[in-house]
């Protein structure tokens, strides 16, 4: 088990390395950089200023050198400096990351917390009216792109009913930035975000439950005279979780993607907004940092899923 985890973690390193190289090369090959947008007519010799800034930032060095410097600094905890925002990247990332983590965690929790019980209920009474109705409703939800759902949420719950803020990651006033405030602001985007995975969760759970329910070992459990509830909790549920866990791992990527769009829609100051902004400004160090964090998040998500998988399923553990 320990070896398994360590191996997985080591396996991530080359992956992250390659991802950074790709991101770095592509970004630098795009026309323009952070200084192309310094266009103040009051500043004389703006070309020279831009050149001086490029020199200061090291952008006039060969790409490989730049990459080497970047990666060296990165590992020493210096994630670079944003010339656009005049701030060390690390201190820009932190609050954005906190916001995004709150948002995604909330989405995940709602998604799993709703998806699993509904899936279980459905599998309890398969092909019943309840199953049919919920499946159809969920299916329709599933077909609403999250951003359209987001627009509708904003329209109904923020603009018209005013129950929730329409935008931002924190509110005004003294309670701004408190946990409650954070959760309050993350709620609508999180709801829009879960559509990506929520329905998938119910469907997976439902399918897995049905599969497991008709499996040989469930029959064995019944043959031992166990009560239905016991069979369910001990045998069916645990085995049915297994496919869901893998699904959960894949979710991370979807949630990351979804959060980029929804953060834009909700002006939620998280990693997505930061990234889009950084791309538009060609703020390289920020792009690199967010890329790495996204990649690591996805990798870690998969890793956790794998580990959970191994916890639940001894066949994996003892491989």
């Amino acid at each position: 088990m320990g070896v398994y985890v360590i191996r997985r973690v080591f396996g991530l390193i080359p992956m992250i390395f390659i991802i950074t190289v790709i991101a770095f090369l592509m970004m630098h090959a795009a026309p323009g950089d952070a200084f192309s947008s310094i266009l103040n007519p009051k500043i004389k010799n703006i070309n020279e200023l831009q050149e001086a800034l490029r020199h200061a930032a090291g952008y006039d060095q060969p790409l490989i050198m730049q990459y080497v410097t970047w990666i060296k600094n990165f590992f020493t905890g210096d994630w670079g400096y944003s010339y656009v925002k005049h701030e060390p990247v690390l201190s820009m990332i932190t609050p954005a990351l906190v916001n995004t983590v709150i948002l995604s965690l909330m989405a995940q929790i709602i998604s799993i917390g709703l998806g699993i019980p509904i899936g279980i209920l459905q599998s309890r009474f398969p092909y019943s009216k309840f199953d049919y109705t919920t499946s159809t409703i969920l299916f329709i939800f599933f077909s609403i792109p999250s951003f359209i759902f987001g627009i509708i949420l904003i329209y109904v719950f923020a603009i018209n009913l005013g129950f929730f803020p329409a935008q931002g990651a924190v509110g005004f006033g003294p309670s701004a930035g408190s946990l409650g405030d954070h959760l309050y602001h993350a709620f609508l985007p999180a709801i829009a975000l879960i559509l990506l995975s929520f329905v998938a969760h119910t469907r997976y759970i439902r399918g897995a439950m049905l599969d497991v329910k008709s499996s040989d070992y469930t029959r064995t459990a019944y043959a031992k005279g166990l009560k239905e509830s016991k069979v369910f909790t001990k045998h069916v549920f645990r085995n049915a979780m297994i496919p869901s866990i893998t699904q959960w791992g894949y979710d991370i990527a979807a949630i990351v993607g979804g959060s980029i769009i929804l953060e834009g829609l909700f002006q939620y100051q998280g990693m997505g907004l930061l990234t889009i902004d950084a791309v538009n400004n060609r703020d390289y160090p920020v792009i690199m940092a967010t890329t790495i964090i996204y990649a690591v998040a996805i990798l870690i998500g998969n890793l956790i899923a794998d580990i959970l998988y191994a916890v639940v399923d001894p066949r994996i553990r003892y491989k």
Partner: protein
Amino acid sequence: SAGQTGGTSGKDDGKPVDGGTLKMAFGAKEFNDTLIPGLANDAFNANLVRMLFDGLADQNGKLELVPRLADKWEVSSDKMSITVTLNEKAKWSDGEPVTSDDVLFTYNSLVSPDLLKIGGDGGSALNTLKGYKEISEGKETSFEKTKGFEKISDKQFKLNLSEKDAVSVTNILTQRLLPYHILKDKPIKDWQNLDFVQAPSVVSGPYKVKKVQKPTTVIMEANNNYYISKPHIKEIVIQGVNVDVAPGLFAKGQLDYMMKGFNVADVQNLKRIQNVDVIAKPGDLFEYIGMKLYKPPFKDQKVRQALMYALPRKLMLDSIYKGNGVLLNGPLPEIIGAHASEKDGINSYDYNEDKANQLLDEAGWKKSSDGKRIDPNTNKPADLKLTYTQDSKTSQAIAESIKKYFGNVGIQVTLNPQDSTTKNAKLQNDDPSIDMWIGAWGGGGDDPRGLWASDAALNWERWKDAENDKLIKDTYASDSAFNADDRKQSLIKWQLHTNEQVPLLFLWTYYDVAVKSKKLHIPQDDLIDIGSLYNPQDWWLSE
């Protein structure tokens, strides 16, 4: 002028009351930048810096210098030095007086190459101070050594200039000052990690930072030590807010004031919100169609004028911006005092398709059988590539109009939307794929050099014109430039020349739009442009 709209109901009648919290928003999704002079690039923060730090002088609505930290200043008769006397009452929010040392420290820091390394702008506003070059190259560290700055007393000093430049006086005096006593021991290269830089606590302006909640919110409180007058409003909460949701926030009273970022076309819609005043008046930002003038199609002045006539600019402004702007025919927008109008002889290039056709015919651009005009330079049907930013809805609309109306006079246009950084980089590098572009400029004030001089980097159209350069020089380097009225005449002369030459297809200046709740009172005279927070100490909130 066209449409002075909005609820700018003149002077406030009520008596100012003290206290209250102003909830203010910027229509910007940007995150916070730093909050000190010299390091704040984006509009969001530049505006906040205005609330936090004062300069020696400031410009009023007519672009006249008014005293702030300085009481008075005198330009010597040879125009090569300025003697400045500081305001006796001027002090920092911690009670320390503002002294000559603060000024010297600020100038030295702004020009220092160390500041450039963390993203400063090189302090180019000070480029006429003696020794600017040495200091910016790191050969010297103090203007005192280079004789650019001579301290006379704690409250008086003399600035020596290396060239005669009327505009640079304004530039130098309006620089906002840094507190020497706070920063003197802090090497510039470490500033990026200073709390003071992200959230300045000792300021010379009417408000000081109470708390910064990255990345969204800045909370400021009144600087009760402000040397001009004690601010009325106790606290200001400032946030970046999506313009799309701001109306809802106003409607629910969650927002008192928001500036910048509104869709100009939404003015009429904004007025539907209850209990708000919509302030909309021309700003200094103008839109234009740029042309790479060295490219053959644009070399002929007649062609440029024809293109100007070919566009129904009024119609475009009325539909795309719902009329929320004023047409522009020369390089200086209406808000600038020296703006030349039709009275001064400006040609307004009213939409006239026949005239456009006639001019094109004269220029030798024959129509072929299919109605397309042949570019005499290539003997092929003209096809102009128009670049514009893809994320702007209005640019898209303008581009389509251009395509349509140039098409009407036989000139084909190909649209090529790009993201703004790419567009800027390509324009700067004279990328051959661009013939024309939709652009916007602002912030140049009444100094033509940055955009119009033949050698200006931002002269992207690459307009090289000796006459123009001579006229521009008159606006800053002659003795008369130091006299406001004479200078205005020089500027008008220059504007007329530009108006005739049509180096750009001038479009319009659109309105700056701000929305404020009726309980916020802003003495109107103080508004230079709505985008700035001018004299916020005079603002007040009624219950």
